[in-house]
């Protein structure tokens, strides 16, 4: 009787170990496919660029860096900031309407003021601003990897604008 129990325990533990190891290994091998789908390098455009000197900008919206880098340089109320051109609704690209002084997204009609704050359409929040800094040479460096969002109160962050 005692011997049989031991056998049973032995039997049980091998089976358990086997299944646990097998499940873990299979999960591990499946996760290979998951990790495999995230490339280690990407070939997308640079996330950092130099956007001339602060004196090159006049008050208002500057579209020079829109096509190349997806950024509007906006000078408003003594602040120069880099505004993302990606609609916060579904990622379409709004157009700047100089006459109406607003950005209008063609996909679902979201509208934004020059500051990037949304006021119409389905956009859930204002456009994002990117990190801007001055290089030692006095050029503006725009870093798109760091975003500043209005609703989080980040537009007061000194990295989100350049005082001009």
């Amino acid at each position: 009787m005692a011997k049989q129990q031991l056998n049973r325990r032995e039997f049980f533990s091998f089976l358990t170990v086997g299944w646990v190891a097998f499940t873990a290994a299979t999960a591990g091998l499946l996760s290979l496919a998951f990790r495999f789908s995230y490339p280690n390098v990407n070939f997308e455009p640079e996330m950092e660029f130099l956007a001339g000197g602060p004196s090159e900008f006049e008050a208002g919206v500057d579209e020079r860096y829109k096509n190349g880098f997806g950024v509007w340089m906006v000078k408003q109320d003594g602040k120069l900031f880099a505004l993302s051109n990606i609609c916060t609704h579904l990622g379409c690209i709004p157009s700047w309407m100089p006459a109406e002084k607003k950005f209008k997204c063609p996909c679902h009609g979201s509208g934004y003021y020059m500051s990037g704050i949304n006021f119409e359409g389905p956009a859930p929040r204002p456009l994002e601003r990117y990190k801007v800094s001055l290089t030692p040479e006095g050029k503006i460096r725009v870093d798109k990897t760091k975003v500043y969002r209005y609703e989080k109160g980040e537009w007061n962050n000194p990295n989100s604008f350049i005082s001009v």
């Binding site: 998951f34 789908s37 995230y38 490339p39 990407n42 070939f43 997308e44 579904l90 990622g91 379409c92 996909c107 989080k152």
Partner: protein, 260 residues
């Protein structure tokens, strides 16, 4: 020699007999044999309730879905001869189909077939619901069917990108941006903002589900390749396996639904 005589002669050859192991299906025995002895017809039962062949009852939508799936497989494989999934060539290859590829109408058949398949699969589900055919013992097969419906739409969705025109990339942009909003797994979704330690952003546009789908931060060439693979290989394989399960269960769960 009369036509009938010729037919009989052909039927009598060893070649014919080696392929068809039974006589013409004009008696019970042979009608059973023709279905049971043919690997393709073998999907069918040998006999079924009369309601199972009544269009007013079945709408034939499931059968049409399967037929369109096969048609799409054939046309799709053919289209692959002329199509290269790169930003460089994709669009031009589609133009080529319209302009100079012999019978480039294959693309139209494929595209409209894809739309038709979405419709038939929806209507199939609609009919199954209206006749209450999901009820026991067919609960599991209904579930398989729902998954097949989702996969059908994903197949169509992934194929939508391949022409690499404005319609394609913006439809996929709109669609894939929804993945961005997945709670906790997409960088624009609820909770993503919480997964951050210092400057270590755990959910960002470089590592969320949308990035995995597109292999990039936006719909670009890597996304085209990924969608191509999903569209041509991965999803069809899964669909094929599930169709087998689905049909198998139709037979095992009592044939085409009918009143109990």
């Amino acid at each position: 020699m009369s036509a009938k005589g010729l037919a009989d002669k052909v039927r009598d050859t060893q070649v014919w007999k080696s392929i068809f192991r039974h006589g013409p299906p004009n008696n019970s025995r042979n009608r059973a044999a023709v279905v049971a002895g043919n690997v393709f017809l073998h999907l069918h039962p040998i006999k079924l309730k009369k309601s199972g062949v009544q269009l007013g009852y079945t709408w034939c939508m499931g059968g049409l879905t399967f037929f369109i799936f096969l048609a799409l497989t054939v046309t799709g494989v053919l289209l692959m001869f002329y199509y290269r999934p790169t930003a460089e060539y994709a669009f031009n290859d589609i133009i080529a189909l319209r302009e100079h590829v012999p019978l480039g109408i294959m693309r139209e058949i494929h595209r409209w077939g894809a739309h038709a398949m979405v419709i038939t699969v929806w209507l199939h589900m609609y009919r199954v619901f209206m006749t209450g055919s999901y009820k026991p013992p067919r609960e599991f097969n209904w579930g398989v069917g729902v998954i097949l419906l989702v996969l059908t739409m994903l197949l169509s969705f992934t194929g939508y990108l391949l022409p690499w025109d404005q319609l394609a990339i913006w439809a996929i942009t709109v669609g894939s941006n929804m993945a961005k909003a997945t709670p906790f797994a997409g960088h624009g979704g609820p909770g993503a903002a919480l997964a951050q330690i210092g400057d270590f952003v755990m959910v960002s546009d470089k590592n969320d589900v949308r990035f995995q789908l597109l292999a990039g931060r936006f719909v670009g060439e890597p996304a085209l390749l990924r969608f191509y693979i999903l569209h041509c290989v991965f999803i069809p394989l899964v669909v094929g396996v599930l169709i087998a399960v689905h049909f198998w269960r139709v037979r095992k769960d009592g044939g085409i639904s009918a009143p109990l």
